[in-house]
Amino acid sequence: MDCKLCRENIYRYLRGQLSRSVHDVFEMHLAKCPDCNREVAQEKRLSEFLNEWPAPEPSLGFETRLAQRLQEARQPETGWWQRLGRGFMARPVWAGAAAVLMVGALAAVWVYNSQVLPGKQADMMVAQDMELFQDMEVIEYLDLLENWDEINALENDSEEQS
């Protein structure tokens, strides 16, 4: 085994993932190569350092908030307005943007009504407003769609069994 091959296998060596025979050859190389020996020692030490960083404790309200969120997940799919309230509006920035759009939309309705529309067509305007918000919902879920592309791709070439 040369140094290059040795370095490539340090990782698996430290995890006990080398086959018996490779393991033996690996250690034979270590026994006569101070450089690789030092590499192994440093890798080991790095792992020890990483182990010093513990996983976090959940904060006090975590369990309650998680339970609430899961309760929401269990409820049947709701209308877009409820989803707006749940996910979209939870983010202050989006909520602000939505408020601005809402004001804008109402202003547009008002201007339109006062100029062109008597009575009946106001309903149509409301319907159009709803479409606007549906678009916004689509925007919010774009990230999710992105996820699915990736996840689907990954499932297609997945060889693992559950």
Partner: protein, 188 residues
């Protein structure tokens, strides 16, 4: 998992119980912010439940879940960049490359032994934060979650070979950042 897909609530509860700590730990080490990590954890399980019918049983469940977690974490990073004023504190430590200078200076051979646990954690935290998102997620899943290369490659949507070199690079960077404390104490 099939039970979960069939809508078995108890099966879902079990999955959440089994994975919530791990998901939180991954998100926390990646984002290094408790509140954001908890948000990501909740969101991950929410989406997992909502999209359970899209999950196919031939895939490994945990790589599916952690793929969602990874995407949520990346989204959060992006939104931090879009709204830097909301995360000044995080931004400040985002480029942690220069941060460990205070440790690098005292390069006495015994330095490693003198590091208090708290200090070590801080050093590790900063070093990990200085990695690119892929490197960070790879090292988290590899070191702390002991996930296989195959599973990490699914989560990151990269080949196993690519993950190997990401991990190699990540560890090399970490070693540079912690160089003073990895010195040849036990090399003999």
């Amino acid at each position: 998992m099939q039970k979960f897909q069939a809508g078995d609530e108890a099966a879902f509860e079990q999955l959440v119980e089994a994975y919530k700590r791990r998901v939180l730990a991954v998100a926390y080490r990646f984002l290094q912010n408790q509140q954001e990590a908890e948000d990501v954890t909740q969101e991950a399980f929410f989406r997992m439940f909502r999209s359970r019918d899209k999950y196919r049983a031939e895939g490994k469940f945990s790589s599916w879940l952690f793929t969602i977690v990874n995407r949520l974490c990346l989204n959060l990073l992006r939104s931090r960049k879009r709204h830097p004023q909301e995360s000044l504190r995080l931004e400040e430590s985002e480029y942690a490359d220069q941060a460990p200078r205070q440790w690098e200076d005292k390069s006495a051979p015994q330095a490693a032994e003198m590091l208090e646990t708290e200090e070590t954690r801080e050093m590790v935290r900063r070093a990990v934060q200085g990695l690119s998102p892929d490197e960070r997620m790879a090292i988290i899943l590899d070191h702390w979650e002991s996930m296989s290369l195959e599973m990490i490659s699914q989560v990151l949507n990269k080949s196993v070979g690519a993950v190997k070199s990401i991990l190699f690079r990540a560890r090399a960077k970490l070693r540079v950042k912690m160089a003073a404390y990895l010195s040849p104490k036990d090399s003999g």
